[in-house]
């Protein structure tokens, strides 16, 4: 009798172990993205996945029409121009950004954030720009500063306009960073108890008061954005804003937490074209 109970317990524990094993096995980024796309397309069969790069505008033809009209004469051109001047101005040693970035800095933005094996961590495009500056004897820029790094990165991303987002997650360390980012995205936090996913998966395409919520797929291709026409907001500035809105303490920008989040977030847009410099409300 006693033996039977023990056997039952053991069988039960083995079963539980198997179940846990299945639960902790990591889905690949491609699998995660396909799962999300299946979720969104079953909810909104009439919205094309290719249009997700327009964010909430994809769900509202009127707003999309306004966007198209504004984008004919972008109100933020002067800021992109300021970024171009920064990009073209040589360092004191005579070298340029183009000289220390892969492919002269063109058509590369869709591969960032990238897992840097040598550093053992995720690096963003902004980190690479700062590495380039430091290697050439210049002080690094503050990644959250709209006037300097913001404008520079906006111009740099315009050099990758139309590039297909292609974030690679290869090897155990890169996978671990990706999984950390995924956890941050799906973990509820803050006094208001929201996860990123609460709005941008569960309720994407729905109205929060008068605002339409955008789907996570397609979000990462178009940063920095110019809100209200000319206020430059970087992707991590936006993360900070989201954390504050849900009354959570935002992790520091360019921290491992933020960069891992950007890594996961960007991988969810793999296969979609970069839309450099866009207007958002």
């Amino acid at each position: 009798m006693k033996q039977q109970i023990i056997m039952k317990l053991l069988t039960g524990m083995a079963g539980l172990g198997m179940a846990l094993g299945v639960a902790t096995a990591h889905a690949s980024p491609e699998q995660d993205k396909q799962d999300l796309i299946r979720y969104f397309t079953s909810k909104y069969p009439n919205v094309k996945v290719d249009d997700y790069v327009y964010g909430a505008l994809a769900f509202d033809p009127d707003s999309k029409a306004q966007y198209d009209a504004i984008m004919e004469f972008p109100p933020f051109d002067s800021q992109i121009d300021a970024g171009r001047k920064m990009w073209e101005t040589p360092f004191k040693n005579g070298k340029t950004y183009a000289s220390c970035l892969p492919n002269g800095g063109k058509m590369i933005a869709g591969t960032y954030p990238m897992f840097d094996e040598a550093k053992g961590k995720v690096v963003t495009l902004e980190d690479v720009v700062n590495d380039c500056r430091v290697a050439n004897g210049e002080a690094p820029l503050k990644t959250s500063d709209a006037k300097t790094m913001g404008a520079l990165s906006a111009y740099m991303r315009s050099l990758s306009d139309g590039m297909i987002m292609n974030i690679k997650v290869q090897g155990p360390k890169a996978t671990a960073a990706y999984e950390e980012g995924k956890k941050t995205f799906f973990r509820r936090t803050g006094q208001l108890n929201f996860a990123c996913a609460t709005c941008h998966v569960q309720n994407a395409g729905t109205r929060l008061r008068s605002e339409l919520l955008s789907p996570v797929v397609g979000q990462a291709v178009h940063w920095p954005v110019f809100r209200g026409g000319d206020t430059l907001v970087t992707l991590q500035n936006r993360y900070t804003g989201c954390f504050k809105m849900i009354r959570a303490v935002p992790p520091a920008q360019d921290s491992t937490v933020m960069n891992d989040l950007e890594y996961f977030h960007s991988a969810m847009s793999n296969g979609l074209p970069m839309k450099a410099s866009v207007f958002r409300k």
């Binding site: 006094q191 208001l192 929201f194 609460t198 569960q202 309720n203 109205r207 929060l208 008061r209 008068s210």
Partner: protein
């Protein structure tokens, strides 16, 4: 003499102004259930819920179900209050903010909001 008179008037006026300020500072504590429900920094119910029977509940969000016929849907008012206090008890994947559990509203505020919502 005249100067003294002016001074006294000024003091009296000052006193009235001060009392006025003190009253104004106390006023926000006396929010009604509806005011708490509508306040963006308090209940902010309209971010997610429509209130079809309330004329000034403009451009509501559509994330949660519309708040209508609440006394029929929640014959037990305590259940409605519990839902506002922490909706994730009944449904762990609910998007709703746990207003009581996370101290977003005080217990007294939740009572008032429950009364207001119950009447919709």
């Amino acid at each position: 003499m005249r100067k003294l008179h002016q001074l006294m008037t000024a003091c009296a006026l000052g006193a009235i102004t001060l009392t006025g300020n003190a009253l104004a500072a106390d006023a926000p504590k006396e929010l009604t259930g509806k005011q708490i429900a509508f306040d963006r920094t308090k209940g902010n119910c309209l971010a997610c819920h429509a209130m079809p029977t309330v004329p000034d509940a403009e451009s509501p969000g559509l994330i949660g179900p519309p708040l209508i016929a609440m006394s029929a849907r929640y014959p037990d008012k305590a259940k409605l209050r519990a839902q506002i206090w922490d909706a994730t008890v009944a449904n762990p994947s609910s998007s709703m903010i746990p207003f009581g559990k996370h101290g977003v509203l005080t217990e007294a505020e939740i009572d008032k909001v429950t009364d207001f919502v119950y009447g919709l």
